[in-house]
Symmetry: C2
């Protein structure tokens, strides 16, 4: 079965979890109305469902063969990409000066979820172009912007991020690609890059590579890295000195070509500096932060799709009888299948909430809130990326499990979601790197005030549930409060460890800390949605989705948030292994 | 990298976790000595490492093509199978009357772990033959035994389990295959079966199918199912009326042919009844219980293999610097990588302990302990199957994560382990079915006395750690005690729900209950191993594996056992969703 964008649920999350109504009322989003926003989501949903989603299995089966340096995308992809850019989707939140529509990132976040639910392999190409647009907008010269931004915003050309080399993955200080000034303002780039997503393809006439390389005599390590724009075709129409030298045979996202790139076989590819010399990493981080949130949204999208497929199957497949049933029951009526489906749905909704709240912070950074919004988004970005992609692995695996033996058979499609999802916790900074980023760089923001403000916002959700007092919430308030208090204590522990110069103690618990953060933040998001629904029910609305949201928040609190106490113990009292680890791994 | 059977660690677990020393001292295992047992493990390890392990990737790449009804196994498999059966491994714990070696199941369990670590796809064929041997031994007529057991025990022929039909998976009451008496003592079988592992192959001259089918006028449901032995070639050498009609394209275990089987295209395949008419399910359960423990051991095996590969990679790959390091560090020195590797190792060792303790119960059933041993094994079998295969999914996924981007590239092999492992939680009864079996059939054994005795045995491990008092245990005793008390309370809740005729309340928490059971039992197993090592250290032994076992038990207690409290809450207070599930899944 295919994907149907859950537009009503997404709009509800935007409005009542991520504060779209408030943002619009405050005037921070210009003349955008709720009706506009919903109309955009509906149209995006139509394109995702009917144009992109049908490509997903085709991409998995055909892959992207490489012959003589030319990569062919799967059947139908070129036409779909053309339809998609002609709809203006590529530049949805890009600057109007360069042809963008200047819409809030929050709206774009919801759309990105849809493209990637429809096909991660397809959605990945514009995801990278968007990162390049941001880097170029922030750091590019006026000449480079004039030459490239318009075509990138329209999607007529795509872009890549060329970071990784065989010896330099998470650790970019080790990279060796070189750049030399050519004397005419351009540079000659030589080196080999690996894992370059859409490094070569046939969707567009040109590809704009953003490449990290070292200048001669640059300082060692990450302070000697510069960022260059290196197009496949030069402004004069000639082919640049770069090529795709190989393509990976991967577990998933077969529709997305993962290329090895060779720059400078014939003396050096021509490139232009973006930003200052030796400041390339800072420029690259501009695009990586945006990309990280979008990877989180890929996780939400594929989790949603896996959930939809599993639910459809569970309603159709009959096995066994539930208590008192007279005939064979659809498996959706069995408690263990319900637990799996609700786990899938609840984690997906929690991750969606976290990603949207992160996007809201980025929008707020451009409004009256300014830096505080940006800091909030910075804090939440590693949580959005890692939590949403960790649960994507769990949810897609549960999707296989709901299908039973059929889940292991490739024709069913459930296994593809699991294979496709598996890259998300790895690329754009492994989830281990995200946890380190959260603990060592984000918790200390403003002396801890940013994280404390975030915890305070979660506590308001608990107060809301207590005040609402609908019996359908069950133990929701108690469990959410316990999780937030666990997060608060774990946060104090981490800040104290960092403050007393014991980074190893903080690092040892970074991964369970991030999970705890995501669990609690996700619980607060679900509670907010449920509170809005409870208010609507009290106001006489009868949409069954309202009661469903309360039941979902309760399930999450009573069955998933309960992990918080154990995670806190792991963060605070579980770090002794760093001293004995070598020993325990020795035998 | 390939697999190296961890023979010393396995022998230590057999002796000090599963009580091999005690069993030998008690005389329950005949004249077997520790030296014999270790010699067998060493030789099995040699065969697993050098003969089978190299086939694993070959099997994944070549698969098992079907042409004109003939399935071809991957290059090298036939020769390896020949070598393996010539070593006598197939009949290790089969009865000497039929050519078996009559060794304890405990020894065979360790060997099964090795074959499957070397290649699940390879190990699966003898796993099914072993189940058929058990069913035939327990329920077959003397004539059938005389005709088939010898060749099955030697491995000259293999066997299959033909249960599933498209409409009948977990629910065998729905099956439709038919059997009619032929008047000469044999039956004519017609019907279609799916998911038949090694239903057709070229490893042996004959294949013995055990097939579930209905006699005419048999009662509806599971009380009208009979079990038949239906060989590919009949005793007179003629081909039976059955064929492989298709083969599945699967996520993993590509080296193992998963066949659709058609019986009776030309009037009916000839078969012979095993056991009594309409009692086929009881006979099949004989083989399924053995098979379930062995599937648990497949989980242990592949988890061990994934761990070994990840550890090797992490020692080799250098990225980033640890605190105070002057040059780039191997990633095994980073705290988050250590956490992943220790999680992999600790879960694997815990699952190994649970499986071995289950096998010990089966051996004890044949000795002076009798029924109590069998009841203990019955209780633990669903835990062994489900916990070991759930952690196999988690451990193999962590194995991919440790490799970073390399883990997503198929050539590395880490992804294959994850793909191969994914079937384990599904076949031989999904893990949801295992949880239901544990709660509704196993907890009530002897009025709850069996589970209480098991919990009491776990408590002795806590007392041991408290008495040992080595500082290296850290919080081990406290965390293990808390987990066991959580298990005790959750057990009381489940028994009370069953006793007061509220099966839905028990079923709602069955899956977290099983996880809690496995976590606590696994913690007790690791503590037992660590206690034996602590005693050895106090006695002056210097093997570094001793300190490593204590560190591992501590890591498990402080970082994984801490999940117990949340699981208890989910079991006891999380079941409201069964009432609201339809609602929450509706929107």
């Amino acid at each position: 079965m295919s994907y149907r964008a859950p537009v009503a649920e997404m709009a509800f999350a935007l409005r009542h979890v991520a504060g779209l109504d408030q943002a619009i009322a405050s005037g921070a989003l210009g003349d955008l109305t709720i009706e506009d926003a919903e109309a955009i989501l509906h149209e995006a949903g139509r394109v995702a469902d009917s144009v992109i989603a049908p490509l997903n299995k085709v991409g998995d089966r055909h892959g992207t063969p490489l012959h003589d340096g030319v990569v062919t995308t799967p059947p139908g992809w070129k036409a779909a990409y053309r339809t998609w850019i002609e709809g203006g989707w590529n530049g949805l939140s890009a600057e109007p000066d360069y042809g963008g529509q200047g819409l809030p990132l929050l709206i774009n976040a919801a759309c990105n979820e849809m493209w990637n639910a429809a096909s991660i392999a397809f959605g990945l190409c514009p995801l990278l172009t968007a990162g390049a647009i941001e880097a170029l907008t922030a750091h590019g010269s006026e000449e480079l912007k004039a030459r490239y931004l318009g075509k990138l915003v329209s999607g007529e050309w795509t872009a890549t991020m060329n970071l990784t080399e065989p010896q330099a993955g998470s650790d970019l200080s080790l990279l060796r690609s070189r750049a030399e000034p050519a004397g005419d303002g351009s540079y000659r780039i030589t080196g080999s890059k690996i894992y370059i997503t859409y490094g070569e393809h046939d969707l567009t006439d040109n590809i704009v590579h953003l490449v990290l390389a070292r200048l001669k005599d640059a300082p060692a390590g990450t302070r000697g890295i510069s960022l260059f724009l290196v197009p496949k075709f030069l402004p004069d129409g000639s082919r640049n000195d770069l090529r795709c030298s190989g393509i990976e045979h991967k577990l998933g996202i077969h529709g997305s070509p993962t290329c090895s790139m060779a720059f400078g076989d014939h003396g050096g590819a021509t490139g232009w500096l973006i930003g200052e010399e030796n400041r390339g990493l800072a420029c690259m981080f501009t695009m990586m932060n945006s990309a990280r949130l979008n990877v989180g949204l890929q996780g939400v999208g594929i989790a949603e799709r896996a959930y939809q497929q599993a639910l459809t199957y569970a309603r159709d497949r009959r096995q066994g009888r539930t208590t008192g049933a007279e005939t064979t029951s659809p498996i959706v009526e069995h408690a263990d299948v319900q637990r799996m489906l609700l786990t899938m749905k609840a984690y997906t909704a929690a991750a969606r909430g976290i990603c949207y709240v992160t996007a809201e912070g980025l929008d707020a950074a451009h409004g009256p809130e300014g830096k505080a919004g940006n800091d909030r988004a910075s804090l939440l970005t590693p949580v959005a990326k890692a939590f949403a992609t960790d649960i994507a692995n769990e949810v897609t695996s549960l999707g296989v499990q709901v299908h039973g033996g059929m889940g292991f058979v490739e024709e069913t499609g459930a296994a593809q979601h699991m294979r496709d999802a598996r890259i998300l916790a790895i690329y754009e900074g492994t989830n281990g790197i995200q946890a380190i980023d959260l603990v060592t760089r984000k918790l200390p923001l403003n002396g801890g005030a940013t994280v404390q403000a975030q915890i305070a916002s979660m506590r308001r959700a608990v107060e809301g549930v207590l005040k609402d007092a609908a019996p359908a919430f069950g133990h929701t308030a108690a469990r959410l409060r316990a999780a937030i208090e666990s997060l608060d204590r774990a946060t104090s522990f981490q800040l104290k460890a960092l403050g007393s110069n014991r980074p190893d103690a903080a690092l040892a618990g970074a991964t369970p800390y991030l999970r705890l953060f995501g669990l609690a933040q996700g619980g607060a998001c679900l509670a907010r949605a449920a509170l809005a629904s409870s208010a609507a029910l009290k106001a006489g609305e009868t949409d069954p989705a309202h009661a469903a949201r309360i039941a979902l928040a309760r399930f999450y609190a009573e069955n998933l948030l309960v992990a918080a106490g154990g995670l806190e113990e792991s963060v605070i009292d579980g770090g002794a292994f760093t001293e004995g680890a070598a020993l325990a791994l020795a035998s």
